[in-house]
């Protein structure tokens, strides 16, 4: 554990939240989606956010992305405000649904952020070829989204998030709607991609095995009000074959995550 903490401290800070809180004003009165979140994410980390629905894990991701504004505390991304970070295109966001534009081919979908950012046509072609290769979609560039399976669509949306080379990747339950076999496959590919690109990844999930398998750090959250109840450093090596999930070390971490979820969540109600 001490080794893990030391490496985190050495790294540059990408996301830093202090006393972060967000209260939604709804018709039924205020709802505390997040409260008192203190978290620092260093460069190159793979951080998973896990918790039951309503724990604010997606909200936290949306706050980083400047899709929601916090009502308390402070948050910075790459040392800037979240708005400045968004304006400087500091992150790529992968939504729960692939959210591809149905009227664009896979390659044109991946090119969308590049078009918006005014990247030249040759540069676009070069980058698209690279990200298509990264997500193993070479050969499918000219297909339309409906011609692809759900897993391939989600890979295309990851390619789109990677296309403009932001160092931070925010992923909101990207594999939540996929079956387990496809999900395993994509998890493995995501780890390979992370190793190759050295990006910082924030990954929201509600699957304990997925969180443990992927992460260098697991943030356990609990609802009403949404808050962080535990932060677990993974002791697993960076190289992770799928069968590592049967190792005692893996199971020990999974156990601790499960305990954290139980402690923070009263299942009686």
């Amino acid at each position: 554990m001490t080794v893990g903490e030391a490496t985190v401290a050495e790294k540059t800070t990408v996301v830093e939240a202090k006393g972060l809180g967000l209260t939604f004003q709804t018709n039924d009165g205020p709802v505390q989606a997040l409260t008192g979140v203190d978290l620092t994410i260093g460069k190159g980390e793979f951080v998973s956010f896990i918790g039951p629905s309503g724990c604010g894990k997606t909200t936290f991701l949306r706050v980083i992305a400047d899709l929601e504004k916090p009502t308390e505390g402070s948050i910075s991304v790459n040392g800037m405000s979240t708005e400045q970070a968004r304006e400087s295109r500091a992150y790529g966001y992968v939504f729960q649904a692939a959210a591809l534009f149905p009227w664009r081919t896979i390659a044109r979908n991946a090119a969308l952020p590049l078009e918006i950012m005014g990247v030249s046509a040759e540069e676009q072609a070069r980058r698209i070829a690279r990200v298509m290769d990264l997500v193993n979609l070479t050969g499918f560039e000219n297909k339309y989204p409906w011609q692809l399976s759900g897993g391939m669509q989600q890979r295309a949306s990851i390619a789109r998030a990677l296309a403009f080379d932001a160092d931070l990747l925010l992923m909101d339950e990207p594999f939540g709607a996929l079956d387990e076999i496809v999900r395993d496959h994509l998890n493995k590919q995501l780890l390979e991609l992370w190793a190759r690109t050295n990006k910082t990844i924030c990954f929201v999930t509600h699957s304990i095995p997925e969180a443990v398998y992927l992460s260098t750090r697991i943030v356990v959250m609990s609802p009403r009000p949404g808050r962080v109840t535990d932060v677990i450093e993974s002791t697993l090596p960076k190289e992770r074959p799928l069968h590592i999930r049967e190792s005692p070390e893996f199971l020990a971490i999974a156990h601790r995550v499960r305990d954290g979820l139980h402690a923070g969540h009263s299942y009686e109600d």
Binding site: A65, D66, L67, R86, E87, R89, Y91, G92, Y93, F95, A97, A99, F101, P102, W103, R104, T105, L112, P113, E115, I116, M117, Y144, W146
Partner: protein
């Protein structure tokens, strides 16, 4: 081949039913006048001869299908198309003002929709007026428009097509407001994460997403445009067009002429709606839509 047959057979079956009902109606509606004629001529024809006579009156209350078909054929294919008696000529006059009005109407509808989607003030202020505009009977407003424009020296196709515009901008405006607002929240969030400008979001997301809505509302609008063009010809003493043909025929009780003008109008409407539908399908095909 079998698929084409599957499509044609149900349509033909309905057509046969309609034609049969039409013949029955023609016999029943023309019978009183025929009985009157026979009584005055002191004739007592048999049932078959009587039915034959009801279906061949020169100015019947209800013309029989074959009378309309013969008249339509004669006035469409056997006249010079520059002749005042040619249905092609009249249809062209109406069609040209329909198309002009439809083009204006679509443009106006799209502009209004873009305004409404981008400015909440327009949404609140304009929408009630747009809806109210469609509750005014077009028959009441058409002569006024024509007269007002004639007073300032604008005559001919422009004032006529304005009536078409008046009827056709509404479905386009309503459809496009819905279409431009149709992108999912996720897609809008996505554009936000790229820090896309309003115009980039408009051209790259809202416009493509609205295309199916545009063509669906254009189908309604083009049919409304034709109605507008015909209505504009009715009260204004227009000398050409399907509307004026209908009016002249009704002055002289030429019911067969009226019906064949109606048929011509329906054919033009069907062609226009089909054409818009075809273009819509081509556009959606070129945008990678899954072939239906």
């Amino acid at each position: 081949m079998t698929r084409a047959l599957d499509n044609v057979v149900p349509v033909l079956a309905i057509l046969a039913g309609l034609v049969a009902a039409w013949y029955v109606a023609a016999v029943l509606l023309n019978a009183p006048f025929q009985r009157d004629l026979d009584r005055r001529a002191e004739e007592t024809p048999g049932a078959i001869a009587f039915i034959g006579k009801t279906l061949s009156q020169p100015k019947p209350t209800m013309p029989a299908p074959h009378q309309v078909a013969a008249n339509f054929f004669e006035n469409t294919f056997l006249r010079k198309i520059t002749s005042n008696r040619s249905l092609v000529y009249h249809a062209w006059v109406t069609l040209s003002s329909t198309l002009l009005g439809f083009a204006f109407g679509t443009l106006l509808g799209v502009l209004i929709a873009v305004g409404i989607v981008h400015f909440t003030s327009l949404d609140r202020s304009l929408m009630p007026w747009i809806v109210a505009s469609q509750t005014i009977p077009i028959l009441a407003i058409a002569p006024m428009v024509i007269v007002v424009f004639a007073a300032i020296g604008v005559v001919g196709i422009i004032p006529k097509s304005l009536i078409s515009t008046y009827l056709s901008f509404f479905p386009v405006a309503v459809g496009m407001v819905k279409g431009l607002r149709s992108p999912e929240i996720t897609h809008l969030d996505l554009m936000h994460t790229y820090n896309a400008s309003a115009s980039q979001t408009f051209w790259k997301l809202r416009v493509p997403a609205s295309m199916p809505f545009l063509f669906a509302s254009m189908k309604v609008a083009v049919a409304a445009s034709l109605v507008g063009a015909i209505v504009a010809e009715l009260p204004t003493g227009a000398v050409a067009g399907i509307g004026s043909k209908l009016l002249q025929a009704s002055y002289y009780s030429q019911t067969i002429d009226m019906w064949s003008a109606l048929v011509a109008g329906s054919i033009v409407a069907a062609l226009l709606v089909t054409l818009v539908g075809r273009v819509g399908r081509l556009v959606s095909r070129s945008m990678g839509a899954r072939p239906a």
